[in-house]
Subunit: 114 residues, 2 copies
């Protein structure tokens, strides 16, 4: 039926997810499995592990997060992720960009340069 709409939703997630993850990590450190359940419970998202684990790898490769292993008394060890300074910087840039996007028609000129 609405192939188109469903596909659109997937595309929207691509942008939103990374932002949401960084946002979440800005609050406190978390491990991936925790994030999966958190996001899956959120309104429009509903991601699975296959989405998040590669995402976390990308974040780490790009230096936005750092990870730390912690053993658990009940279950496998957890890999906790924290934001690096670059991660915080990128998050701020994202926030700014999204702010611009949501402003309906007001482009807002940059510091009146030139």
């Amino acid at each position: 039926m609405d192939d188109f709409f469903n596909n659109w939703v997937v595309q929207v997630r691509k942008g939103v997810l990374e932002h949401r993850v960084l946002r979440s990590l800005a609050e406190r450190e978390r491990y991936a499995y925790e994030l999966v359940r958190e996001m899956a419970a959120a309104p429009g998202l509903g991601l699975s592990e296959g989405t998040l684990y590669p995402l976390m790898s990308r974040l780490r490769l790009n230096g936005l997060v750092a990870s730390r292993l912690e053993e658990s008394t009940s279950g496998p060890a957890r890999k906790y992720y924290t934001l690096t300074p670059e991660g915080r910087q990128t998050l701020a840039a994202m926030d700014h960009f999204l702010g611009e996007l949501n402003r309906p028609e007001g482009p807002k000129r940059e510091g009146g340069s030139r």
Copy 2:
């Protein structure tokens, strides 16, 4: 430098663009070239023709827009696009979805089933 951020912006566009285009067409009919310049001038977007033409094709294939050729006295003929009823419906669904996404922590339960 910020490969990651730039890439992210590209991903965000994927979701935003289709919504913006439908929004724009909901106002009045437009032709593709017009949309390109309109979007390119908007804050965070900056798309090119190579992005928009395939997008318009997809919209037409999915029955969200209809097109109509109109000759121009100055230049090539223009293909004007209008929203179909399905297009309007999809736009409404998108608006709803985005509304849900932006609600910070309020999932809004579905009819309290179960």
